[in-house]
Amino acid sequence: MVKSDTWVEIREIILRPEERTGNLPPETQRVPLEMRLKGFLLKEARLGEQVEIRTLTGRRVTGTLTRENPTYDYGYGKEFIPELLEIGITLRALLEDEHA
């Protein structure tokens, strides 16, 4: 159960596939246009339920409750790219005599 006034994320379909504009590639045409939005939960609810939130600008918006206290989960990548290291080593070696 997520308590009211908790910072949450909701998801909402803005346009169903049949409501989307023409001129879209088929892979986009067949999926809905979705929105994610964060705000404060107005009434206690469970994840997956239809809820109403109050956004930072004071708007009231409804949608499906998806996350509680949503965080940022990207970073510097899941694996290190050693090739990048090589670039600096090579270029510094090329300029070695400049700094001699």
Partner: protein
């Protein structure tokens, strides 16, 4: 009574919504069904270039350092014939409050919103502009909503975009995150209508006046330090505002002989509205997916007439490859001690290759950098690409295929310049203007307008119109 909020109904109210949200009536600049008075629109901004400088100083924007890239210049000279290898200067726009030159655009737009009495600002962008508007809105005490294309239909987002979203939120903005699709504009209009906030468009005249200070600063600083105008200024080109504003600023400073060069990352073959291609690109701005369509038709933007009109100002246009930009991003960090970018280093990449073709007495200015960090870093981008089946490795960048491979140049000499045919872009612009404005014949004023738009001769414009089967109205042409 409830308003009809369906796609068709909202799009149908576009002009009415825009008029309210822009505080500017674009109809007054329309001269014929085709032509409009661009300079009158720029004049009506009501903020002179000198005033823009003052507004920006008060908002902690601009006056950024112009840095001599001594080691990159030395490297370019080492790889060039005797007497070649231009001096490379870098305008460190990452020093602006939100970390990019976009603060210049946002500062005037938000200043106007405040002055006109709006309670908040809305912007539709997946770029650094969202953060810039959020930053300025915070300073002016206005609300801010950013509408952003963030995810594919599976809810996966490119790390660069996710970082930009975090940054907007960090600066107090409400971010409406959408999946892929051009209907973002529909959501944007709905929000403008609901909130009655100001449309802080990237393409308004305010936004462009804001960038003019960048060109002005470059001209003045280069003159003061080197006793001459810069020979070349390179600008990353997407929607056209960066290049347009910079070029106008250079001209306002009287630097008429400075060549203005646009640069985009080559993403050819990737569809910008594709749910599948969305996460196959490592650059979310500064690429051909914006650069080419916006040069060939600027009015596809979120204002009736875009103030960003790149073909009026672009002397040359080059493409660089994704792998080359990552390579130069690393070079900038490792040789100059400046961790910036990556997207902001697009023009730096072309600058390095171009410097090798110019005399060592020439001065070449890269007019921006942008902040970097988690998400917006080559490590994040390349790991994400690899995870999505894109090969990453050293080789010849000419062989890079967007969406399939990212090729880091095996040696810095392989960083290439791929000149784009400006004449064909100019022809496309004429074609798009007459098609979109549904014009079946043109007047003398239209001819003049198309010459301004393309910097083409009368013969070129007439010949292009002939090929399109559009007659020039003889009577009117004579009068003109």
């Amino acid at each position: 009574m409830h308003k009809d909020m369906s796609y068709g109904a909202v799009m149908g109210r576009k002009n009415e919504i825009m008029k309210k949200a822009l505080g500017m009536d674009y109809a007054r600049y329309e001269e014929t069904p085709l032509a409009f008075d661009y300079e009158a629109m720029m004049k009506d901004v009501g903020i002179t270039l000198e005033e823009a400088v003052v507004i920006q100083r008060e908002a902690a924007v601009g006056n950024t350092p112009l840095i001599e890239a001594k080691n990159l210049t030395a490297l370019a000279r080492k790889l060039s014939p005797e007497g070649y290898g231009a001096q490379i200067l870098i305008k460190d726009e990452a020093a602006n409050p939100s970390g990019s030159f976009k603060d210049r655009r946002a500062s005037l737009a938000v200043h106007m919103a405040k002055k006109l009495g709006y309670k908040g600002v809305v912007t539709a962008t997946s770029g650094n502009y969202g953060a810039a508007v959020a930053s300025q809105a915070a300073r002016y005490g206005l609300q801010c909503i950013v509408v952003q294309e963030c995810y594919d239909s599976r809810g996966e987002g490119q790390p660069e975009i996710l970082e930009k979203q975090r940054k907007c939120e960090a600066l107090g903005a409400e971010v409406i995150q959408l999946t892929v699709g051009p209907e973002l504009f529909y959501t944007f209009l709905k929000i403008l209508e609901e909130t009655e906030y100001f449309n802080a468009s990237l393409y308004s005249a305010y936004g462009i006046r804001g960038v003019e200070t960048l060109g002005l600063e470059i001209a003045e600083e280069v003159r003061r330090r080197y006793g001459k105008d810069p020979d070349v200024v390179l600008a990353t080109h997407a929607g056209g505002g960066n290049l347009t504003g910079t070029a106008r600023g250079l001209q306002a400073a009287g630097a008429w002989n400075t060549k203005v060069v646009g640069v985009s990352v080559d993403l050819s073959g990737l569809h910008m509205a594709s749910d599948v291609d969305f996460n196959k690109k490592s650059f979310t701005t500064g690429h051909t997916g914006f650069g080419i369509p916006f040069a060939a038709y600027p009015d596809r933007s979120d204002v009736p007439r875009s103030a960003a009109r790149a073909l009026r100002y672009m002397d040359e246009y080059y493409l660089v490859k994704q792998g080359e930009v990552f390579y130069m991003t690393e070079a900038l960090a490792q040789l100059e001690g400046m961790e910036r970018g990556p997207a902001g280093n697009t023009s730096l990449t072309a600058a390095f290759a171009l410097a090798r073709t110019l005399k060592s007495t020439d001065i070449l200015v890269v007019q921006e950098t942008e902040y970097t960090g988690a998400g917006k870093h080559p490590l994040a981008q390349l790991a994400f690409a690899r995870d999505h089946g894109i090969t990453v490795g050293f080789g010849n960048p000419e062989e890079e295929i967007p969406g399939k491979s990212i090729i880091l140049p095996a040696s810095p000499e392989l960083i290439g310049l791929r000149p784009q045919d400006l004449e064909s872009l100019r022809r496309s612009l004429i074609k798009n203007l007459v098609t979109q404005r549904q014009v079946t014949q043109v007047t003398a004023r239209d001819l003049e307008f198309l010459q301004e738009e393309t910097r083409g001769s009368e013969e070129f414009v007439v010949k292009t119109l002939e090929e399109l089967g559009i007659p020039v109205c003889a009577e009117d042409a004579k009068r003109g």
